[in-house]
Structures are given as C-alpha cells and as structure tokens.
Symmetry: C2
Subunit: 313 residues, 2 copies
Amino acid sequence: MSKVLIFGHKNPDTDSICSAIAYAALKKELGVDVEPVRLGELNGETEYALKQFNAELPRLISKAAPEAAHVILVDHNERQQSVDDINEVRVLEVIDHHRIANFETSDPLYYRAEPVGCTATILNKMYKENGVAVQKDIAGLMLSAIISDSLLFKSPTCTEEDVKAAQELASIAGVDAEEYGLAMLKAGADLRSKSTEELATLDSKVFAMGDFQVEVAQVNAIDVLDVLARKEEIEKVLENKIAEKNLDLFLFVITDILNSNSVAIVAGKEAAVVEKAYNAPISDDRTIVLEGVVSRKKQIIPVLTDIFQGMTK
Amino acid sequence: MSKVLIFGHKNPDTDSICSAIAYAALKKELGVDVEPVRLGELNGETEYALKQFNAELPRLISKAAPEAAHVILVDHNERQQSVDDINEVRVLEVIDHHRIANFETSDPLYYRAEPVGCTATILNKMYKENGVAVQKDIAGLMLSAIISDSLLFKSPTCTEEDVKAAQELASIAGVDAEEYGLAMLKAGADLRSKSTEELATLDSKVFAMGDFQVEVAQVNAIDVLDVLARKEEIEKVLENKIAEKNLDLFLFVITDILNSNSVAIVAGKEAAVVEKAYNAPISDDRTIVLEGVVSRKKQIIPVLTDIFQGMTK
C-alpha cells in the first residue's frame, strides 16, 4: 500500500493538527507508511504549541487523491469538513470525538469515536493498547490538543478521561499543564494581528442539519469587546460566506475564555432558530448572549440540529 | 439512567444475537443496567448455538422507545436495518464491523468499528481492555458468532484477529472450534423445515446505495439444488418484497458452505447492475453464478454500491 495521508478538519484547530502528528507517529512505530498533513492555515495557539514541542509543520494539501489512494481522518468525519476530494479516496480509519453525520463508506473500516473532549485522549489510549510509549514532544502536542479542546478543562465537553490523559501527558512532556495551558490559550486569543476574514474562518465548520446548511465559527478571546469592535466588518464577511456557500445560518461565536461565556453574531435567513434554541432575543445589532456557552460541540450543534431536523425547507 | 437495550440488526444472525448477549454481559460486569434484546426470529444455527451454551433467548422487541431512552447497537449501524423507531431513541454506542451508511447522530457517541470478520472479535478485545474475564458460556456464544460470520474461517472477511480470537474463545469454552463449528453450520444449513417466506427473510438486509434501495438475502446451504428447487416460490416472495418496500433490486444469494461458492436469484428493475458487477450473464431463469463469492459484506455490497453510486434515478 502506498503512503497514507492523515489529516484533521478544514480550518484546523490544535486537536486537528496535533492529533494528526501524534497518530502518524504511532502508525510509524507500527510500521505503516503515513504522513500527517493539514487542510488549512494554523491559528496562533497551534503555532505556539508546535514551536514549544519542536514539531515540524505538517504539509498543506488541498486535494488528497492526486497523491494517495488511502486516508485516515482524525478529529472529524463529516464530508463537508474534510478534504474537497474525499469521495475520490478510501477512508481507512477515523479517530474522532464528534457526532457522526454525512459520512458513508462502501467498505468496512476502523472507526473509533468516543464521547470524550478531545481526539488526543483517544490516541493516548490507543498508544497504550498498542504497547507504544508516547515520545516527550508528542506528549506535549497531545496535551496541547486536550487543553485547547477543553479550554483548560473548563468546557462541559471535558471528561474525567481527558483530565487523566492530560495529567499523564504533562508528566511525560515535563510541563505544568495549568501554566503551559494558560500561556497557550493566551497565544491563541491574541486576535489583534488577524484580519477580519481570518477571524471568521480560523475555526469555522459547516454542519448539515436536516435540510439546512449551518456554519458555526468560534474564536476564543480574552477581551470580547475587542472582537465586537469589528462587528460590521465581520458581518460583511459572514454575508459573503452565506452567499458563496448557500448557507441558511451563520453563527459567529466569540468565547470569553476567562469567564466561560459567549456572545454570538447571527446572520442568515434562519436567524430566528437561534432565538428559539437559547430562548433569548437577538438584539437589534444582531448579537445574542449565550450565557455559560463555551462548547460548540455540546452546547450549540445539538440544540440547533434538534430544531432544524424538525423543520422542512 | 434507565435500562439500556442492546440489539443487533433485523433478521438477526448468530453474530447479532450472540454479540448482544456477550456485550450485555460485559456491560453488566461494568455496572451498567442493560438488557440484550432481538429484532426478529432466530435461525436454526443461532438456536443451536444458544442451546449448546445454555443461553437465555433474548426478548423480542418491535419498538425501543416505549421502554428505553437509550440503546446500544451491535453488528449494524444503518437505520433501515435497525429497530423501526430508532429515530426516537438516543444511540449511546455502536460496536460493529460493517461499512458506515445512513447513520447520523446529533451528539457524540462511542463508536467502535473495526474491519474484522465479526463483532464478537471486537468484543473479545473490549473484554481485555476492560480487564474482565469472558465467562465460559459467553465464550462459546462469541465463538459461534465468529464461526458463523467467517463460515468456519473460510470467508474472505475472516482476518487473523478473528482466527486468534476464536482460538482463545474455543479454549475458554472447552470445545474444538472445527468440530463444533461444522455441526453448528450444518444445523443452520438445514433448510428443509423453513417456509419459502422464511428462507427469503432469514438473513436479509436492505442497503441504501446512492439513490437506490437494494435488498440482499443470503442463505447457507449444504445442497444448493435443494434451495433452487423452490425457485419459483422464492421469486414470488421477492416480487412481493420489492413492491412492498419499493426496492430497485433484490438479490437472493444461496451460498454453498462446503464448496465456497454462491448462486443468486435476481429480481427487480435494476437486475442488469448485477451482470455488470460480476461481468457474468443472468441466465434465462434469472439466476447468476457468483464464482467464489461467500461474503455479502465484502464481495457483494461494495461492488453493487460502487455501481449504484455512479447512477442517477
């Protein structure tokens, strides 16, 4: 078998990048010819993690089929979040911690999803199952992924397994999880150098919900007002994305990582669904306060999906 | 959490029944309140296995939601193969060894699929991962599932992992795998007592392939001609199923378990797809010889799916 590409989702976050690198390292130990690659630019947080743990930047690809017949997906499964030509390659494996949707294969495969906070937590288990020790720098990358996905263990997606894995990995990596984690999150929340276009695509995913297409972007911030100061520009970007991808709704979520709250900018013709979902009004300036919401996966996608699945287009 | 139901697919085979029982036994050891149930009548082979290993017959259900909010699927994931009201319950886990299709959740879940020959092989690994010893009779049931799905290790779906798991389980169960296995398969291949309607539904599954609905039934036989003697009656049953479920194709596969070959009776308006898939003619009597084909999962579903996915309705 020729080389197998391993990658996370588009607009990659720290888990998508670090889990691709960490799983590739495990697969190589097991004698499989693999290469971790990425589907988009890094955010500041991931850059910080890669630099801290001496990782090589995975190569950027836009298509998989021209160079590989087989791929492994980490940290995602929905086709619209994957490489554009996903239908032209065979998916050998999926290691993920999200819901399953819009995913279909003609052959059996290895699919490992667990309802934990981070792909790297599952990988930590798979290292053990395969009797392979996690290398120091790889442990640091996996720790970074868990801290990122769990917002330093504060997100409702964070499970005991995530905390336990992070403790093990911090010890192997030789860092203090809390101290390193806060520094990494702050590096990611420094949005000043980002253009508005970058802000709206940094960590943004399209979800199929019943008959509707919904995009949800999320940025972590230390100061939410800093981001809201650019609201008009952001709205223009959202409107463009809606037209370009024929979306029914775009939710741009700004998460205050110190206070564990979010504010969202709402755009698209199905905006009323967001009011219904959170039983709260969208203000005249098209923002809505999402009290206590920090997790897109657990506190946004399921509630919106439930409503959209009961609607017809 | 109230009781969780565990079940395999409709028209249950030995893996669907035995894996539900074996996984329920593991879950109970781990302190979870579960009950293995079934979605249809047993075939002769499964009856034989349950009797040999002193298993209680799982309760028959036709709906899950009236009695449970949460379910665990074994040996299947496609909705049309599952309980009728699958959309009204939450799927907590899937343990499976088939392709993934027509499966969607709004929340993350535990999904464990591996490209091995039998669900019970994955369960054997999960017993170990959880540090739980397999009980003697449960080992016999898991062995029965592997023998059934692998046609006594002769199917191309059978992997080294299946063979190794079967050896371990045979040793725990205190039986000779070859000798017990042949007796079990023969019990299942004794089709004389079955009505034609039963034959056509015993191990039959509907698959969504692109825009098309395809049903594939499979029976194991010692003497294929015995079954073909009832061809006209079988065809009538197939035509009824096609009308009732609005199917595009029905393939009734008779597998010669001693010689590892199959003959199929073909019905439905897309019959030509079968000729294309196997590059062989359907004879005037609507049968086609499938040389060396014994595995629906590996040698039938993927080839048909590939062709149907390239067609529009």
